[in-house]
Amino acid sequence: MSEEPDLHFDTEGIKKKFMFLNRKAPYGTVYALEILEMVLISAAFEQHACITFVDDGVYQIVKGHDTKALNMKNFSPMYGVIEMEKEDADGDEDEDMVWRIIVEKESMEARGLTADNFSIDVEVLSSAELADVIEDMDVVLGG
């Protein structure tokens, strides 16, 4: 019998800035769901995270998705979990963890949307402001 692999990850004291860069609409492809799952998993590791929506990715957080007739899981309520995670990070002074939920203004406006169309509270940044944030990251995971 082979030896059990060591599945203990020591992340104590390691803190990186992660960006999850969402660029695809939900349901048509699996990108949105895959990135959402990565964000939720990463919450356990207490890292800094920017959850960012650009291009068709802004459609992921539009209010009122109803996928019943498609016979697919409506995963949009899970973005509310991200928002709660962010609020926890903001509210806990002992925890050195910053989460931001960002939408690119140009992508939002190109699609006729405003921040009122979204199911969660977001920071709306211009392309130039967002480019600065991206440059500052340690890891960018996107699709």
Binding site: L21, R23, D55, D132, G142
Partner: protein, 100 residues
Amino acid sequence: MLHMMNKSPFERNSLDSMIRLSKKGSPVLLLEDGVYAATKGTTVADQVTAMVGDHAVYVLGPDLQARAIGEDRLLDGVTVVDYGGFVDLVVEHGTTQSWL
């Protein structure tokens, strides 16, 4: 931050997004179908030429050869790298972003 683009600029908006969301001075590597963006005479040639002014732009040689794109067809200022050069770019710049 090394920005990489592997999709044709005629198929989707990856090139536009990369140009909009990358800081001046950060390097760009075009690979796979992204190499078509580096060719002369296309509808995106002006955009890519402007990008060459703001960024070091690299293109992956093996992907050019596979697509019969000779270096004479590349826009001025674009640098061809081989796989070793690709690795050097990743090592030098650490963080990468792939524009799919």
